[in-house]
Each structure stands twice: as structure tokens, then as C-alpha cells.
Subunit: 272 residues, 2 copies
């Protein structure tokens, strides 16, 4: 079992990815594809004349403030992208793909954050009315069932709150949580970079191997979104997963290349 996470942005070789997934599934290796939706959400918010509000949490992570209206925009954008990816996987990959989100069969439960603790112009403050969530539980029934029926799940990053309402969740961490609950051996994160770089401006500065005990040091090289990705890597490696690769989404075989070790490979077991 393999869990693959891709971003929702421009420049990602979706067709190539669909081909790679088709090959793995044809070889009898089940794949779960998890996708983000940030770019699609930003685009739709822009078209609707709704300004984005990016905030920095007190722990230093940048996140989007998701009020009720932004949640609706997020749901529309992410489920539309999900539908397009599902169609493409069938068209290009020859795979019986099925699009789901964490709402379906209560597959992903989350606790609504509601109150965000942020830093703005150097000062701490509280921001209320947020509709994003922190994952609390993955229920494997639906994904298990779909895979046993021969389907390939495509997962949008929406979870169900304890009150039964949809919430925006981080797709990187959702992929890690699903991988652990499904006892996947491997997680691949495909992104707009060759992997984790010592210097984000320098593609040649790729860090090739990181043993889990060196994750804190690796984290010192990460900036922006890569910081959340490393948090997700750590969460994935805390459970059943034995290896995580951050690979380049822009290659002609993004997934097969990542599986053959191209990118940054994080692993348990002391092999550096």
C-alpha cells in the first residue's frame, strides 16, 4: 500500500502522475492519492472577489484563515479539483478512481480549531470563527472497502467535525494519518522542488537521505510550506510507515522516480 500526496497547484505533471499510478495499480499495488487545494481555493476566492487572509500561528506556521465563506470556497474548489483528478486517473491511468473526502463515511474526523492563536505585526492575538480542523481520527472502513473492490481512492482534504460539519484540514498531514491507519509502508509527497533543499534557492543543494533521528536538524533547512510537510513526515514515520519520500512533482515520471529514491528519502531504522 502506497499513499501519494500532491499539491493542487500549477506546473504539476498530473498526466504523468496518472500514468505512474496506472502502472502501479496494474501491477497489483494499491495506491491512495491525497491532494491539496490551496491554489484552486486561492483562484476561486480571487474570482469571487474575496481576499485571502494568510496568518502566522504562534508556533510559526503560515495558514489561511478560513471563515464560513472561505470554507464554502474551499469545499467547491477542492471537490472540483478532486473530480478532475478522478476523471484524469481513469482517462490516462486506466484506473477505476473514486473521489472521496474525509466527510464520506466519516473517514476523517477533526476537531474544529475555532480559535487561532496568531502573531500579527509582532503581537500575539486571537482570531475566532475559523473553520479548519485538527485531525483526530481516521476511519479506514471506506478506504479499505474501496480498495478491496478494486477502486483507487482520490482524497480531498476535507474532514468531518465532531458536530458533523465539514472542515478544512491540511492535506500533507491527512496523507500521513491515512497512511498510518491503512498501515501503508510508503508515503510520497510530490512538490514543486526536487525535495528538501539545504538552500531553497539552490536546486543542487538536495538533501538525499534523512534518518528519523536527524529530522530536527533537517527541519532547520525548511521554510514556508516545507515546514508543515516535515511535520507530516514526522507524523507518518511515528506509525506504520517505514519510508517517506519528498519528490519532484514536475518530472515525467514523478511517482516512479520518487519510489526509486529520487528526492529526499526519510526513513526509520537508523539508516542515514
Amino acid at each position: 500500500m502506497l499513499v501519494v500526496k500532491i499539491g493542487g497547484g500549477a506546473g504539476i505533471a498530473y498526466e504523468a502522475l496518472a500514468g505512474d499510478i496506472g502502472r502501479l495499480v496494474a501491477e497489483g499495488k494499491p495506491v491512495i492519492l491525497v491532494h491539496g487545494a490551496s491554489d484552486a481555493t486561492n483562484e476561486l476566492a480571487g474570482a469571487l472577489g474575496r481576499p485571502l487572509r494568510l496568518v502566522t500561528s504562534v508556533s510559526g506556521y503560515q495558514t489561511r484563515y478560513t471563515d464560513r465563506e472561505m470554507l464554502d470556497i474551499f469545499i467547491m474548489a477542492s471537490r472540483a479539483l478532486n473530480t478532475r483528478l478522478t476523471a484524469q486517473l481513469q482517462r490516462v491511468g486506466g484506473v477505476a478512481a473514486v473521489g472521496v473526502s474525509g466527510v464520506d463515511g466519516a473517514m476523517a474526523s477533526a476537531r474544529r480549531k475555532d480559535v487561532l492563536k496568531i502573531v500579527e505585526q509582532g503581537r500575539r492575538r486571537i482570531l475566532r470563527g475559523d473553520h479548519s480542523g485538527k485531525l483526530t481520527r481516521i476511519n479506514a472502513n471506506l478506504l479499505d472497502g474501496l480498495i478491496r473492490l478494486g477502486f483507487t481512492p482520490v482524497v480531498a482534504p476535507i474532514a468531518l467535525s465532531e458536530q458533523g460539519e465539514p472542515l478544512n484540514v491540511d492535506a500533507d498531514r491527512l496523507a500521513a494519518a491515512i497512511a498510518n491507519e491503512m498501515a501503508a509502508e510508503t508515503v510520497v509527497y510530490l512538490t514543486h522542488a526536487p525535495g528538501l533543499l539545504r538552500d531553497p534557492e539552490e536546486p543542487d543543494s538536495l538533501i538525499r537521505r534523512v534518518a528519523i533521528e536527524h529530522l530536527p536538524r533537517a527541519r532547520s533547512f525548511a521554510q514556508g510550506r516545507m515546514r508543515i510537510k516535515l511535520l507530516a513526515v514526522e507524523e507518518a514515520l511515528s506509525g506504520a510507515v517505514t519510508a517517506v519520500t519528498i519528490g519532484d512533482a514536475r518530472r515525467s515520471h514523478p511517482l516512479l522516480d520518487a519510489l526509486s529514491g529520487r528526492g529526499t528519502v526519510f526513513s526509520r531504522g537508523g539508516v542515514a
Copy 2:
């Protein structure tokens, strides 16, 4: 097996419907819920400043012209509504609902119309670039599988074209086609009216029973959307389905009332 179709409009008692579905599912009766998305699509198109274009086909049916951009809007609006309905069914109905569209597992295939033959200002003309489709095939694998796993499918009216692209399809006819392929006994259409009325302005003019041989006469009373609904009723009754009810979506037990015969009941077998 029961197939229920609801509109996507305001004034529909979704909570009440979720409660009714929850009761039937708890009694061991599987339900498939199919929903429309016209109102949600119109609303989003309006917010995006995209004018709707309603056209009348040469056969007299009113339909929305779906260019590429309107297809994107339709997909966003319908999958977002699907997510909300799925969450609500779980919250209110206690049902393990799973949202799908015809794209998932190629559940609904359609032929793209591309060319619409319309009548405009009394003259026939051709309109190109449409992205709606005519259903060609229902593949029951996914719905069958989900129901056997104990899930309740919630279906958005999107199909997969022969070229592997999403298409807008009519939800009423999709419900009829699913009912036939799944060998459902009963289809219930819930709408903004007590049923088929002799006079659409007069709620007391409800037609209570229509045997299939009297459908052509019943059709003479139908106007607007009700004409397509009667086409769907006819398609449903041409297969496995033995009874179709058009019932009132605004009641406090919309589905249970329709199943107990409230509304217009269409049936095979000569019982008028």
C-alpha cells in the same frame, strides 16, 4: 432498494429528508440519494458574474447552455452541495453517507451533446461547445459495493464522457437510470409542489394516480421542469421500477409521506 431524487433548491426540507432516510436505512432498506444542482449552479454563476444562458431545445425542453466555464461552475456547485448533503445525512440521519458522482468508478457514462439544436426567437439554430451529456450506461459496481459495505450513496449529477471528461447530466433522468440498473423497486422525486398538478397555479388540482398507459395524457398538464421529470418517470417505469412517486419536498416527512402514497403515484400494471 429505493432511489430518491431531490432538487438543489431553497425551501427543500433537507434536514427532514435526512431524518426520513436515516429511519429507512436503520430498518435495513438501502437508499440511494440523487440530487440536482441547478440553483446552486445559478447562484455561483451569479456570484462570479457569469450570466446564465437558458435555451429551448427543438423538442421543447428548457435547458442551460453549459460551456466550458459553466461546466467548471456546475462541478464546483454540485460537488459542494453533495458534500453538504453527505455531512447532513450523517449528522441528522445517523447514516454512513458517501458522496459520489458518475465520474467515480465510471459509474455513469454519457455521450457529449456538443451541438444543441435550439429554437431562439422562433428560429431553429445550432449551438456548439456544450458540455452536457446524454446518459449511455450505468455501471453498478461502485453503488453495489458501497451498499454492500453499509454505506448510503449520495449522487451528484456528473457523468463521464466517452473521452473521459466530466459532463453535466440531468439529475432526474440519472435517478431513473440508476434505479433501473440497480433494480430498485421504487423511485421518489421530491419537488417544490405537491406532485403533478392539473393546474400548476392550483395546489388542490393534484393528480393522485397515473397508470403508465395514461402518461401521455398526464404529460399535457406538465410545464417547464415537470416535463423532464415526466420523461424520467417514463424511463424509470420502462425497466425494473414498478412505482414512481412525485412528492412534496417541503413537508416535515417528505420521503415517508411520498412512500405512503402522498403525491402523484405513477405505476405499471394497469392499476389506475
